[in-house]
């Protein structure tokens, strides 16, 4: 019997765990270690943040699902990996610390034959002094944060209803933050709700971003066919912001937040301030900061993980300038080069470099988005990692027949821009591949026929449809595996 341990129960880890159990059956053990007792469908947190959904509509308890599927669930934090075991054990194991009520603080060694690290991001609010829901800005990164943001947003709406002008600052809260899509979605939803309430005369909504040009979204932007032209997503993005009455500050690295004020540096090296009544600023992401030790107990964290805490996999991490970036730098199977039974999935894997061109201000501040790996790619990577582990266990071979490089994988991003069956709107964007491949597609970096940007009611229906469909799939109900990632 083989034992597979999955660290993390987000989109990638949960997907991997369900496929592992489905493929391995009762003869093998699948264990999930996650500090959160709930699964959350992160894309719908935006609707929680504007009061259109309750947290309960975007989350559910993991334990009953895992019990039904025969997966062991440990509500705990992974503290360290010992891939070679230690003096008492030949097998690799993970040191975990329970966080549930019954066993809080207890530790355990969980040994494994295969380990899938899908720990997701650590929301690195500390990298920007004053940032975060515990301090002076809001976040929609989790359902709790989104609910908290809605409570504050409600207050701003009440003030506007009383005739008090409000400034909203939405965007990235760190010079190298990613996930612009979520913040962009939130800005559009706030504008929609403001207009719906007839309060637009009292609102100044500002989008602040570390992108060189709007529409970069951490993936180097894209080109889409629109109105008889091939246009950059800059045009698409600026157009929708202008339509919603949102002005913007681009090439901005927010470096400090105080009550009602954000400080930022622009790429030209100048320093500025922006006051606000309500802000939602996305933090930088880091890895889960798990330590790794060899059999002798020596610290091998820097061998297994990159400096940002994300796990090194089969990528080319040789530092190289933007002009020398290649599609072959990106990983295909997400296997650790140090230990062949160790995999990283979703945000937990360290990308070889960005997708957006690195930019630096004259003061030496790097101001550009790091690459996004959320949602669809996370799910697909989780599935492919599970398929390869199943293959290795069932055949005893070490090859990897399943591959999912972000240079070949496409993705869809549906940016909600208002809620309502007939009044709602969303921008549907598809890109293929996710990472621009300028060797294969020298003109636009991607397959222009698969890269689209469409705004309309259909996008809202799709976003709503996906909310229910992916929660159904995550609950592992009848036919779940037929639903694609």
């Amino acid at each position: 019997m083989s034992k597979v341990v999955v660290l993390g129960a987000g989109i990638s880890g949960h997907t991997a765990a369900l496929y592992l159990k489905k493929g391995l059956g009762k003869n093998h053990e699948v264990i999930v270690v996650s500090p959160n007792s709930n699964y959350q469908w992160v894309p719908s947190n935006i609707w929680v943040g504007v009061g259109l959904m309750e947290p309960n509509q975007v989350k559910f308890k993991l334990e009953p699902v895992y019990r039904r599927k025969g997966i062991v669930f440990k509500q705990a934090l992974a503290k360290a990996i010992r891939p070679e075991g230690d003096s008492t054990s030949e097998k690799g194991f993970v040191e975990i610390e329970y966080v549930d009520e019954a066993r809080r603080g207890q530790t355990e060694k969980v040994d494994y034959d295969f380990l899938v690290n899908a720990t997701g991001p650590t929301l690195n609010f500390k990298a920007t002094p004053g940032l975060g829901p515990d301090l002076y800005s809001n976040s929609v990164c989790t359902y709790d944060h989104a609910w908290h943001a809605w409570q504050n947003l409600k207050v701003a709406f009440e003030k506007m209803e009383a005739g008090v002008h409000q400034t909203f600052l939405i965007g990235t809260g760190h010079a190298m933050a990613t996930c612009q899509g979520a913040a962009f979605e939130y800005a559009l939803n706030i504008a929609f709700e403001v207009n719906k309430r007839g309060l637009h005369k009292f609102a100044d909504i500002i989008w602040i971003s570390n992108e060189y040009e709007l529409g970069d979204f951490g993936m180097g932007g894209a080109y889409v066919k629109r109105g008889g032209y091939v246009t950059p997503t800059k045009v698409f993005t600026e157009s929708i912001l202008a339509e919603y009455g949102i002005r913007w500050i681009k090439r901005a690295g927010v470096y400090k937040v105080e009550p009602g004020k954000a400080y930022y540096e622009l790429l030209d090296g100048t320093y500025h301030e922006q006051t606000f009544d309500f802000s939602m600023l996305i933090p930088g992401f880091a890895g889960a900061q798990i330590k790794a030790f060899n059999k002798k107990g020596e610290d091998i964290t820097s061998t297994v993980f990159a400096a940002n805490g994300m796990m090194k996999v089969d990528a080319d991490y040789t530092p190289k300038p933007y002009e020398q970036w290649k599609s072959s730098d990106w990983p295909e199977i997400y296997q650790s080069p140090a230990y062949d039974n160790l995999y990283a999935s979703g945000i937990a894997f360290a990308p070889p470099h960005g997708m957006s061109k690195p930019m630096e201000s004259p003061n030496g501040t790097k101001i550009f988005p790091t690459p996004p790996r959320t949602g669809m790619p996370s799910g697909v990577i989780g599935k492919v990692v599970a398929q390869n582990v199943i293959h290795r266990i069932k055949t005893g071979r070490k090859d990897h027949p399943h591959k999912a490089s972000m240079v070949r994988m496409g993705a869809a991003c549906i940016v909600s821009a208002g809620y309502g069956f007939t009044k709602g709107q969303a921008a549907t964007m598809t890109v293929s591949p996710i990472v621009p491949d300028w060797e294969k597609y020298p003109k636009y970096g991607r397959d222009i026929d698969k890269t689209v940007g469409v705004i309309g009611l259909a996008g809202h229906w799709m976003k709503l449809f996906m909310h229910y469909m992916f929660l159904y799939k995550a609950k592992a109900k009848f036919g779940w595996s037929l639903i694609p990632e």
Binding site: V380, G410, V454, A458
Partner: protein, 56 residues
Amino acid sequence: MASIHERLKNEPYSEYSFATRPTNATLFWRRCIIKQIYLFFALNLKIMRIVVGGHS
């Protein structure tokens, strides 16, 4: 008090003033149920093909 949109849209040489804006016809088609039903299925199909074709 004018909204930020009204104040900025005619402010010459602001970045905001250079942004493309949808025509009334574009706004109409974005809400036209028949066109949007077609798009719902067409975009879903496109996404499905991208997802399935992107990994092996």
